[in-house]
């Protein structure tokens, strides 16, 4: 692995900075200790410092440093435990220890090696100081008298030690010149001070925005120039201050090789860790926030992703699995990827599991693409671990990972090829302090939408607005490139006065929050702005719709919408168990979600109903796109050839449709789709309003009275089979296609 040296260098650098600081503290503590020889607190502090240096030097294989601090630590342990008491001799020896450690560190900083210094003389002195009480076995009370003779050998050896140390002392001035280059070119700054600077810079950015906006209309050339200059300098300042909070992702990754090594040893895996883009920088608070999610993903990849060597061999893969961590910048965000070449995730298996656990309905899963099925792992309560191991499957699942990532305004998704591997993708904003946002207007009020959750803006022109928004029951939807996008009216959510007149034009902001996608209808989009998100007081945060507030360019306060909160509030849980869902369905408190039926018309004036939940899309097919292949009807649809069934033919009626396009109901599952062509899409009704009867016929499963009209219940399964006999071939045996109405 390249970059190991750099990594080591960095660790040593940190060790040096830390140790220099510790030694300064040690000097002070030792001196204070002479004044207050009995202070346990001081002794404990000194002990800790020496212990830390010993530990790290052992880790970095600096053996001299380790051995001398080890002896010192023993002496300090005795002092701390009261077996010895502080004497000037001991204090002197300890201070010499500090000096020696300093010399060793200086040498390490210069040459990355401990050099020629001999630590043995001082070690002997320290050991001699250790001996007496043990030899005399004297009661502690007598320690002073017992100790005094013991000082003799120490004192005798003492002159030797400085002589031995002399080379170091001589070298000292030379070292001094370049010494602490690390210590001096970097300054440790209190994080709070940094945060304060960042906050102030944020204020400055806002003030700048206001001045720039005003000077633009002031028509004062000098003011314009000055404000331009202010703008530039503020921008640079902002960038600089932000960089003080930036840390390379390496910081986060540096602990992972160890995690990977230990885990793969424990689980009997052979794993090679590869890291790319470790110099990608990220705000330190965000870095801290993604630490746990990332570690979890890495553990998960080893535990559930990469197979044991023999399994890999059987699968024709190299025995050593590869776990890749990748960091990069992508459109103003940091992209963190955790990629393994293990078993991968199998969408249908995940889907089956989610159904088994009652997390989603079987019907819903049917309509999901494999990609969507994979995202099921993020649902709370889902864990793929077959057995609870102490590595993962401890109840902290992917839902926690997602929650943590979304809390900092990030997002996560997963992609996988069964047998080939899995790629977890985290998108993290660069910084939280200043975020790009879009300001929108709704009923004369302005709101800010963080750009990170904004996918696109769709404009609804006046003439289109009334037709572009369609209704499924009482839920407005919009067809975005063929898929139905649930719509949320911002004015309705906020309880703002609803407009009665037809708005000129509106905008749908396509947002993603809480793992779900929806469109937010606003009156218009105003601007993009860099905003500083300011926290709201508790009472206002509780409303759950606002992430904070900000001050806009003109000095006015604007609320920042909480997209995830909006999604949670307005979109019902996929399984429909959301209480809000039943509340809002016109006060009907039902035990379960009400199923909806799609009512269509076919030839002969007959009406058919089918469960809406298994319908993937409703489409209008141009008659010209309908063709025949052999004895089957097909339709050209999005570059595919879709098997097609004319329901009128299927049920022996003559179709009366003859216009340019015909409506079709599309079903998709497991990558196969079929279309059922009808004469007309009539309505969508709640199942509650249906009166059933058991009058049946070929291709039907019953009939019912819907809105006072006799409506036949289509046997969807046989209709689909008539269009595509192989549609259900891949269906898992355990799962029946849920098409029965009752």
């Amino acid at each position: 692995m390249s970059g190991t040296d750099d990594l080591d260098d960095e660790i040593i650098g940190e060790f040096l900075i830390e140790s220099h600081e510790n030694l300064d503290q040690l000097d002070r503590d030792l001196v204070a200790l002479e004044q207050a020889p009995d202070s346990r607190e001081l002794l404990a502090s000194v002990f800790r410092t020496i212990h830390t240096i010993k530990g790290t030097s052992g880790f970095l294989a600096y053996h001299k440093l380790e051995s001398i601090t080890h002896v010192g630590e023993n002496l300090l342990a005795k002092l701390r435990d009261g077996a010895l008491s502080m004497t000037p001799e001991i204090a002197t020896a300890l201070l010499r220890l500090v000096d020696l450690v300093r010399s060793l560190l200086a040498s390490i900083e210069q040459t990355r090696a401990e050099g020629e210094l001999d630590v043995e003389p001082l070690a002997a002195v320290l050991r001699a100081l250790l001996e007496p009480p043990a030899a005399a076995e004297a009661p502690v009370v007598e320690t002073p008298t017992v100790e005094s003779p013991a000082i003799e050998p120490a004192a005798a050896e003492a002159p030797v030690a400085p002589a031995e140390l002399l080379p170091a002392a001589v070298e000292q001035p030379e070292l001094e010149a370049t010494r602490s280059s690390i210590g001096e070119s970097t300054v440790r700054v209190d994080v709070n001070l940094l945060e304060h600077l960042v906050r102030l810079t944020g204020e400055l950015v806002l003030a700048r925005n206001q001045i720039v906006q005003r000077s633009a209309v002031a028509a004062d050339e000098d003011l314009g120039r000055a404000s331009h200059q202010l703008s530039l300098v503020t921008g640079e300042l902002q960038e600089g201050v932000m960089r003080t909070r930036m840390q390379p992702v390496d910081h986060l990754w540096s602990k992972l090789p160890r995690v990977v090594r230990d885990l793969s040893a424990q689980l009997g895996r052979s794993v090679r860790l590869e890291m790319e883009g470790g110099d990608t920088e990220l705000d330190r608070t965000l870095l801290e926030a993604v630490k746990d999610p990332l570690t979890h993903l890495v553990r998960n990849a080893i535990d559930h992703g990469i197979e044991p060597p023999e399994a890999r061999r059987r699968a024709g893969k190299p025995e050593t699995g590869v776990l890749r961590l990748r960091a990069s910048h992508e459109s103003g965000q940091v992209l963190l990827e955790v990629i393994d070449d293990g078993v991968g995730l199998h969408g249908p298996t995940l889907a089956a599991k989610a159904v088994e656990k009652g997390l989603v309905s079987a019907a819903r899963v049917e309509t999901m693409s494999v990609q969507d099925q994979l995202q099921l792992v993020f649902i709370p309560g889902f864990s793929t671990a077959a057995a609870v191991t102490n590595v993962s499957g401890r109840g902290v699942g992917m839902d926690v990972v997602r929650t943590n990532v979304e809390r900092i305004g990030g997002s996560i998704d997963v992609e996988s090829t069964p047998g080939k591997g899995t790629c977890w993708r985290l998108r993290i904003p660069l910084t939280l302090a200043i975020v790009p946002a879009v300001t929108v207007e709704c009923r004369g009020q302005r709101f800010a939408l963080p750009q990170i959750s904004l996918l696109e803006l769709v404009s609804l022109e006046a003439e289109r607005a009334s037709t572009a928004v369609e209704w499924v029951g009482d839920a407005p939807v919009y067809r975005l490139r063929g898929a139905l996008l649930p719509l949320v009216r911002l004015d309705a959510v906020l309880g703002l006065e609803q407009r009665t007149d037809q708005p000129d034009a509106q905008v749908v902001a396509v947002l993603e929050g809480d793992g779900r996608r929806f469109g937010l209808i606003v009156d218009r989009v105003l601007d993009t702005e860099e905003i500083v998100v300011k926290p709201l007081s508790r009472a206002l945060k509780e409303i759950g719709l606002y992430a904070g507030a900000t001050i806009l360019g003109d000095g006015a306060v604007s609320l920042v919408l909480d997209v995830a909160g909006l999604a949670r509030r307005q979109l019902h849980a996929p399984d429909g168990q959301d209480e809000l869902a039943t509340e809002q369905a016109g006060g009907q408190v039902a035990a379960g979600p009400e199923r909806q039926l799609l009512v269509v018309a076919i030839g002969g004036g007959r009406r058919l109903a089918m469960p809406l939940e298994v319908v993937t899309r409703l489409e209008q097919f141009p008659v010209s796109s309908l063709q025949r292949v052999g004895r089957r009807d097909v339709v050209r649809y999005r570059g595919e050839i879709l098997p097609l069934l004319r329901l009128s033919d299927h049920l022996s009626e003559l179709s009366s449709a003859s216009s340019g396009t015909v409506p079709g109901v599309v079903y998709s599952a497991r990558g196969r789709s079929v279309a059922l062509v009808v004469d007309e899409i009539v309505d969508i009704v709640g199942e509650g309003s249906v009166v059933y009867s058991d009058v049946e016929d070929y291709g039907l499963v019953g009939s019912a009275l819907i809105n006072d009209k006799v409506t036949e219940m289509l046997d969807v399964r046989s209709a689909i089979l008539a269009a595509d006999p192989r549609y259900f071939d891949d269906e898992p045996a355990t799962e029946a296609f849920p098409l029965e109405v009752r």
């Binding site: 204020e203 806002l206 003030a207 009020q445 309705a492 959510v493 906020l494 309880g495 703002l496 300011k534 709201l536 007081s537 508790r538 009472a539 206002l540 509780e542 409303i543 759950g544 719709l545 606002y546 507030a549 900000t550 001050i551 000095g555 006015a556 306060v557 604007s558 609320l559 809002q584």
Partner: protein, 145 residues
């Protein structure tokens, strides 16, 4: 040494908060409404770059809204939060004697009971001592859809 109180008028009431809690007093500022918040939350103001919510004390205390009164803002710092309290008129800062304090009368009911800790008997009138913690305990409207 008595306690220093900042006083202000609300309708016929003269009310007070501890002067040490008051950060400053302002003319009423332009406010950005917060849809979904309780009715008495009367928007956000920009106080030198800080976003400060405004509490309409009349609404909070169940008094009818008074038109034509421009109002003043008493900016209080409470725990970590800063709020602006909208009042009719600002009074003096006065020093009161603990011995003049009485708890709310037992006959007092309604929203006011929750919001005052008691009253100081001033020579000419009663001074209602507001309970800032209670005043600021305004949740969002649960009925919001």
């Amino acid at each position: 040494m008595g306690l220093l109180l900042a006083t202000f008028d609300l309708g016929t009431f003269r009310c007070a908060v501890v002067a040490a809690d008051v950060q400053e007093v302002l003319m009423a500022q332009p406010r950005t409404p917060v849809p979904g918040a309780a009715d008495c939350v009367d928007g956000l103001i920009n106080l030198r770059g800080q976003v400060v919510p405004t509490l309409d004390l009349r609404a909070r205390m169940g008094l009818p809204a008074e038109s034509g009164v421009a109002g003043m803002s008493v900016v209080v710092r409470w725990r970590d939060e800063v709020w602006s309290l909208l009042v009719d008129r600002i009074g003096d800062v006065i020093e009161v004697d603990e011995s003049d304090f009485e708890p709310p009368p037992l006959t007092l009911a309604g929203p006011l009971r929750q919001l005052i800790v008691g009253a100081y008997k001033l020579p000419d009138r009663l001074l209602l001592m507001l309970d800032v913690a209670q005043l600021l305990a305004v949740g969002g409207e649960p009925a919001l859809r």
